[in-house]
């Protein structure tokens, strides 16, 4: 199969000064120049950072590639190079086919121009030919649902209308290679959902897609393969479920176990510090848990001195990053200040409760300083997957399709004939 993208040894260097003071005035430069001249100083040495470092990969035609990594890992820089907004410092990329991206939605819209004029302008900006826009014009207007307002200046549109129109243009670009940065995608949840939907459509028509996301569920669902970037370098490149799993368990914290080397470096303050946090099932740490059985979130912490009363608390997120629920230990044992010492508290998430997929947990040891919770120690997320072995005794029964929802309780049903 033909390759769509070949990147060889891509590197991008930024000077810190350049990024921070995006632009100065001539006076500043002249003044700095004069100072250097008078004091015979050398040119100010910029601090340099590598946003990308020796990144190589290939994407074959029709492949859907996911890119993951935490903020600042170089994902956006990579997309900027692929869209040719910026050039690499070293290395090169060969791209076969037209590149479109959903990060450009609405760029080039001019408020004084009418919807019609803006469709043509925006289309050209995104690289469409005039006759192509002409041919697609009616479809675009229909998709956007702006109908009779097409000859009204865009400044009179509601923001929803102009976003719809802009998206309609971008969605009809028909690129051979589509770049999607979900992290940068502006707009509400509905709009992001449409972006994802459009991406799915495009990938199903056999086109090449590069998808940057923090949404691990969507990523594993949509991408065949994933690349994990960290500090500008490729850490892992392989089938997306494997890469996502390794990413989540990596040292940066998302995995079923999080341990701190010593008490000093652990999260906390002079009152309480965390020692470790982990997700377990049947007494052992579990990255993958069975949906039917309870999951224990174990929180080990040390109370350093007698002070205010503290208690543990967890916040559980679903794969989309929405809070599934909050829970805290309300037992009376935490009403009085705890004596200094080591504690391990376990929060039991019942079986047949969380839905399948990735769950992440945020742990705190807090004080109740009414009306707010005052955290003393906060842990980065730990993560585990909930899965259904499909033996027919869960809430799923014999159903094998996608099961929506944050929770998945096994309810008791009663049926009478009456």
């Amino acid at each position: 199969m033909a390759t769509a993208i070949t990147a060889e040894g891509l590197s991008k260097q930024y000077r810190i000064g350049e990024l921070q003071s995006a632009y100065g005035t001539l006076r500043d430069s002249l003044a700095a120049g004069a100072r250097r001249f008078v004091r015979r100083e050398h040119r100010q040495h910029y601090e340099e950072i590598w946003a990308l470092r020796d990144v190589s990969f290939e994407v074959v035609e029709g492949e859907v590639l996911g890119v993951i990594g935490r903020n600042g890992a170089g994902k956006s820089t990579l997309l900027k190079i692929l869209t040719r907004i910026t050039t690499p410092t070293n290395g090169n990329v060969t791209i076969r086919g037209r590149v479109g991206s959903l990060l450009e939605v609405g760029t080039g819209f001019h408020p004084e121009l009418t919807g019609r004029e803006n469709v043509y302008l925006n289309g050209s900006v995104l690289g469409m030919k005039n006759r192509e826009i002409q041919r697609r014009f009616d479809e675009i207007v229909e998709f956007a649902g702006v109908g009779q307002f097409i000859d009204t200046p865009v400044k009179r549109y509601s923001s929803g209308m102009s976003v719809r129109l802009a998206f309609a243009v971008a969605a009809h670009l028909e690129p051979e290679i589509l770049l999607v940065d979900e992290v940068l995608a502006v707009g509400d949840a509905e709009f992001q959902r449409r972006c994802l939907g459009r991406m799915e459509d495009i990938s199903l028509t056999g086109r090449t897609v590069i998808f940057v996301s923090h949404n691990m569920q969507a990523l594993t669902q949509l991408c065949d393969r994933a690349i994990w970037l960290d500090k500008g370098e490729v850490v892992l490149d392989g089938p997306s479920p494997d890469v996502v799993a390794r990413y989540l368990q990596s040292g940066f914290g998302t995995g079923a176990v999080r341990k701190w080397r010593d008490l000093e470096s652990a999260p906390g303050d002079d009152l309480v510090r965390l020692r470790w946090v982990r997700a377990t099932q049947d007494g052992v740490p579990a990255d993958a848990t069975d949906v039917r059985r309870p999951i224990g979130i174990e929180i080990a912490f040390t109370v350093l001195r007698r002070g205010e009363p503290v208690f543990p608390k967890i916040k559980v997120f679903d794969a989309r990053g929405d809070v599934a629920f909050n829970a805290m230990d309300t037992s009376p044992r935490w009403d009085e200040p705890s004596p200094p010492g080591d504690y391990v508290s376990t929060a039991w998430i019942p079986g047949n409760f969380l839905n399948e997929g990735l769950s992440t947990v945020h742990v705190q040891v807090c004080t109740l300083g009414a009306p707010q919770l005052r955290p003393h120690a906060t842990a980065d997320i730990i993560a585990f997957h909930v899965q259904d072995p499909g033996e027919g005794d869960s809430a799923r029964g014999g159903f094998i399709g996608q099961w929506k929802g944050v929770v998945r309780p096994l309810l008791e049903w009663t049926t009478e004939e009456r």
């Binding site: 005035t25 004084e112 192509e132």
Partner: protein, 298 residues
């Protein structure tokens, strides 16, 4: 370790446009490389993007006089009122030389190319920063922005030219055969404006002093371009020095054809052509050299 694999949606979502084939199956292969050491103008790429150039120029023209109460009348009013003031101050009070042509028509015919030049420089210099959203989000050859910028005031020029034709009838001043060369002189004005615009637009990405400097620069430049007095009335050696300013040849050559004043002289015209080419090549070189960093610094 095992991983939760979500089932794909029950049925495949049909593509939104049934039967849609990529219209322009561009088998263009693009190789993205580090910044070249020696910048060059990629003419093939500019040709590929020609429709966008027209679209950008058209947008700027369409937007130019929107929500103004007298609209395109500004294009005529500006040079006309300036002409009246110059005629009073320089023509009547100071008695500047106009080489036998009625002063109003002399200065107005000079103001046309000059006003074009000054607006072209101003618009193209601001073009990159004014289109920041485009520059940071979409790829296209950035030179299109200053080029579109210099094409915008051409419409103003044409409108003001209609008034010039009326004045010529009024003052009974007739064009010479050299009017056939006038487009070439005007083109030289465009090339000079583009050169300056390319340079200043790239400087403006880094230093936002440019918008403050331009009115000042243009004010001074005007006095050395033969707008308020006839260059040909100056001592010869000054004429040669001023020929380094391409606008002297542009204005003088335009007037030669349109109102039949003295020709600018071949030697001096060639000096101006060389100067205009220098502006253009220098501006383009600086622009292309700074181009790769525009999106990072703008």
């Amino acid at each position: 370790m095992s991983q939760t694999k979500l089932e794909p949606p029950a049925q495949a979502v049909p593509p939104t446009q049934p039967g849609a084939e990529p219209a322009d199956r561009s088998d263009r292969v693009v190789v993205i490389r580090p910044d070249p050491r020696w910048p060059h103008l990629d003419a093939g790429e500019l040709w590929h993007y020609r429709e966008l150039l027209f679209r950008l120029a058209w947008r700027d023209i369409a937007v130019r006089y929107k929500q103004t109460s007298i609209g395109v009348t500004w294009a005529i009013l500006q040079p006309f009122v300036t002409m009246v003031v110059f005629t009073l101050v320089f023509g009547k009070f100071a008695e500047f030389p106009s080489k036998g042509v009625p002063y109003p028509i002399f200065t107005y015919s000079a103001l046309l190319p000059w006003t074009y030049f000054a607006s072209a420089v101003a618009i193209s210099s601001a073009s990159l920063v004014a289109n920041k959203a485009l520059v940071t989000k979409v790829y296209f050859p950035r030179v299109l922005l200053p080029i579109a910028g210099v094409s915008v005031p051409a419409l103003d020029f044409l409108l003001a030219f209609v008034v010039l034709a009326g004045m010529m009838v009024w003052f009974a001043v007739w064009p010479s055969l050299a009017i056939l060369l006038a487009p070439l002189f005007l083109f030289m004005g465009l090339v000079s404006a583009l050169g300056v615009g390319l340079f200043l637009s790239a400087v403006n990405v880094r230093y936002r002093d440019v918008p403050y400097a331009i009115p000042f620069l243009m004010q001074i430049w005007l006095y050395f371009s033969g707008v308020v007095y006839a260059i040909t009335a100056l001592p010869e050696h000054y004429q040669w020095i001023l020929a380094l300013n391409p606008m002297t040849a542009v204005i003088n050559g335009f007037q030669w054809g349109v109102i039949g004043t003295e020709p600018p002289g071949l030697g001096k015209t060639l000096v101006s052509v060389a100067a205009a080419s220098f502006f253009f090549v220098g501006g383009l070189w600086y622009f292309r050299r700074s181009e790769p960093r525009f999106a990072d610094t703008i």
